[in-house]
């Protein structure tokens, strides 16, 4: 009877009903969230977007939106995916890009600074020559607004690889409160190394133990290199590659184009030459006198705080510092900027940056549209509101830009290029990472004592020779 009753039941059991209900709910949930599960809802994800890698620390989310949305408005058929890469400095950024390349996820376009221009050009970059020529009319206004020294710094062996977006030369920042406390006026634009030294001594006398008159960071940009430049020397001998006439004849008048070539060549190591040793002797003397400390390596991130609070009197920096000091709460009248002091010359060093097109890209034409877009005035205006760099466009370096942040001497930033046309990029051959390591490593040992200079420079010479001879 009971067996008969069980067989006679109609419809599925409650357990079966619950089980099938759960299956259905699960399937519905998976279907509804399929985009999220597969990551398809990430903007630009997938193979069809133009990928652009930028240094994450130098571009904020609002600026990223400007870069992407403005471009997509202009080119609705091209989707852009911005990849901000967090890095402590440029070599760190390049290391991460190279890691992506090694992993097979190379971006189409990379924001590349002077430190990487030739490294990328030799191994990874696409020359822009044909595209620049083809779109010459569109770019004429841009080149007229950009100093040729910046353009030349982005050439390699006769070809152009990037359009300069920004640059920073090593000028001298002076804390006017510290100078005022010592009863000193701002120096003249053509001040000399000896006047600089005298200024530091005055600051030392007036400031006491809590003040560091001169503070600098050991790195390729703005460390020893500005002093090498004003002493008319470098750790690697400089020359110009042939070529480049296709660009200079087309875009620059003869007087501005004179002496320009196809990009810099840094070849023979000369770390042991007398002018280089003279620079190191001078810096060692400053340290021995207590006018500055042995420099730390790294990006100098803690320097803004100590300068803005009056514990540093003078330091080399570029236009990027104006925004940083402002954010640190410094009054625009609290600091000013001057050219680097003159020694045998007053030639300055700078670093620049722009977008490079990678050979691995399968969207070169779309990438080129992005590169052209990246140098438009309205784009740069949106990107550089915070004054954390110097625009490559001369027309953008104006009083309005620096009214809120200072410095009063803002003209110095672009005048560095106009007043000293031979101003050039930091030495950055394709072997730049080994060159930078050799420079920073042996600079720190050279400055440990006056007797260390010669032996450290010999070691630097050996390392540079090994680096320049090595196949990549």
């Amino acid at each position: 009877m009971s067996s008969t009753g069980r067989r006679d039941r109609i419809g599925p059991s409650r357990r079966a009903l619950l089980r099938y209900g759960a299956y259905g709910a699960t399937a519905a949930g998976v279907a509804a969230s399929w985009d999220r599960l597969t990551g398809a809802d990430i903007p630009g994800r997938g193979g069809d977007a133009l990928t652009v890698a930028t240094l994450g620390a130098s571009i904020d989310p609002a600026a990223q939106r400007v870069l992407r949305e403005g471009f997509e408005r202009l080119h609705p058929e091209i989707k852009v995916r911005l990849i901000p890469v967090q890095a402590t400095d440029w070599p760190d950024f390049f290391a991460k890009i190279l890691t992506q390349i090694a992993a097979g996820t190379a971006p189409d376009v990379v924001y590349v600074a002077t430190e990487g221009v030739q490294l990328f050009a030799e191994n990874l970059g696409v020359a822009l020559d044909d595209r620049v020529r083809r779109d010459a009319d569109e770019l004429r206004e841009y080149f007229a607004d950009v100093h040729p020294a910046l353009v030349e710094s982005m050439m390699y062996e006769g070809s152009l690889y990037q359009l300069p977006v920004e640059f920073n030369a090593a000028d001298m920042y002076l804390n006017t409160s510290v100078l005022g406390g010592a009863g000193l006026e701002l120096p003249a634009a053509d001040w000399t190394r000896d006047e600089f030294t005298a200024l530091l001594r005055e600051l030392r006398s007036a400031g006491g133990s809590g003040l560091t008159p001169y503070y600098w960071t050991n790195r390729l940009w703005g460390g020893v290199v500005p002093w090498l430049f004003v002493n008319d020397t470098n750790i690697l001998s400089e020359s110009k590659a042939p070529g480049g006439r296709w660009l200079w004849d087309e875009f620059y008048p003869a007087d501005l184009a004179a002496g320009r070539g196809g990009g810099y060549r840094w070849t023979t190591p000369q770390a042991t030459s007398a002018p280089v040793a003279e620079v190191y002797d001078y810096l060692t003397e400053l340290i021995q006198e207590g006018l500055c400390s042995r420099p730390e390596g790294g990006g100098g991130n803690n320097l803004v705080g100590v300068f803005s609070t009056g514990r540093v009197g003078v330091t080399p920096a570029g236009g990027f510092w104006a925004g940083g000091l402002h954010e640190a709460g410094m009054d625009p009248a609290g600091y000013d900027v001057r050219f680097f002091p003159r020694w045998r010359s007053q030639r300055h060093q700078f670093g620049g940056a722009g977008y490079a097109l990678l050979r691995t890209s399968n969207k070169p034409d779309e990438a080129w549209e992005f590169i052209k877009y990246s140098v438009r005035t309205e784009v740069l205006e949106a990107l550089f509101q915070a004054n954390q760099t110097t625009p490559a466009r001369r027309s953008m370096v104006d009083a309005a830009r620096y009214r809120e942040t200072g410095p009063a001497g803002w003209r110095t930033f672009y005048d560095t290029l106009d007043a000293f046309p031979d101003t050039g990029p930091i030495p950055a051959p394709p072997r730049v990472t080994e060159v930078e390591l050799a420079l920073t490593k042996h600079t720190s040992t050279a400055l440990s004592s006056p007797g260390s200079v010669r032996s450290a420079l010999r070691a630097m010479q050996n390392d540079l020779e090994a680096a320049m001879e090595r196949d990549l």
């Binding site: 390349i101 400390s293 042995r294 730390e296 705080g305 514990r311 080994e434 040992t445 196949d471």
Partner: protein
């Protein structure tokens, strides 16, 4: 009846059941074994193979035979980095174990339970933080001109110490930051080891008149020796692979004063695109770690005692 019993016995221990048990064991072990193979063994083999090539990740690898090893032996930077790493290992592991042992013994003494718990947590906390972020903060603290450490030393009349810019002091600073972060792990091991010592052993020692330092030397340390072995082996392995602290604090400087082997590997591989050279250095470091570990296990036969 006897037939039924015989049949049942064969069924329980039969070949089918044994095969099923072995299959089940294999299924349960598979995730771990596959994980070790994929993430440990394959990369090691790949690294050894790569050390015989020149590869810049852009072009195809080119066979180089033993050139990477020959260049490595003559590269002064590589040799200095091994010397630095060994020196760092001795200083860091020695200081780490000493500090951890002293603090563990102190915490094992008479303390209110709440204080003991608070101190244990405080000492362990640095271990869970990112080594890189700690080093960034320490870089500010140890700055020669503006750092809090030199400010504090100045208050007691000490001249500013060039922590990050002097060859000797830079190594000291890196060791201090590393030990500050890492010793919490050794401390945990020693606390566990001390708790594992039976109370009767201490009571018996006290009956024999052994107290204080004599007790620690003759009773506690021998009984802690297995824990000491673990702390030493793990400490040495970690120290030989140190990277974050010298990279962030001193960038391997001044000169090469704090450049470690892993820094050289990183710089060769990712900054200079010399993956073959980097792999060769990595293989050598692997061999060194293996040798140091084997040496400690061999020494343990003489010095490590089990209850």
């Amino acid at each position: 009846m006897s037939g039924a019993r015989r049949g049942r016995r064969r069924g329980v221990g039969g070949p089918r059941h044994q095969r099923a048990a072995r299959l089940l064991a294999a299924v349960f072990l598979a995730p771990t074994v596959i994980g070790v193979l994929v993430f440990t063994v394959v990369p090691i083999v790949g690294s050894v193979l790569l050390s015989f090539f020149r590869w810049n990740v852009i072009d195809s690898p080119r066979w180089a035979g033993t050139a990477n090893y020959r260049e490595m032996v003559t590269d002064s930077t590589v040799l200095v980095s091994f010397t630095n790493t060994l020196l760092f290992m001795v200083l860091a592991v020695g200081l780490q174990i000493f500090l951890a042992l002293v603090l563990a013994l102190a915490l094992d003494g008479r303390l209110p339970n709440w204080l003991r718990t608070a101190l244990r947590s405080a000492f362990f906390f640095p271990l869970v933080l990112s080594a890189a972020s700690i080093s960034v903060v320490m870089k500010y603290l140890f700055n020669q001109d503006f750092g809090v450490v030199n400010w504090a030393l100045g208050q007691v009349g000490v001249s500013p110490v060039p922590w990050l810019t002097h060859e000797t002091w830079a190594m000291v600073a890196v060791v201090l930051v590393y030990v500050w972060q890492q010793f919490g792990f050794s401390l945990l091991l020693f606390i566990g080891g001390l708790n594992n010592i039976p109370r009767e052993m201490h009571e018996a020692a006290a009956m024999d008149g052994s107290t204080g330092w004599r007790k620690h030397l003759h009773i506690t340390l021998p009984l802690l020796s297995p824990t000491l072995l673990v702390a030493s082996v793990v400490g040495v392995i970690n120290a030989l692979q140190v990277f974050e602290q010298p990279y962030v604090l001193t960038d391997g400087g001044p000169g090469d004063a704090t450049r470690t082997v892993v820094m050289v590997i990183y710089q060769n591989a990712f900054e200079q695109l010399r993956f073959g050279s980097a792999s060769a250095v990595g293989v050598l470091l692997f061999g060194l770690i293996l040798a140091m570990t084997a040496l400690q296990f061999r020494l343990s036969r003489r010095f490590v005692h089990y209850q």
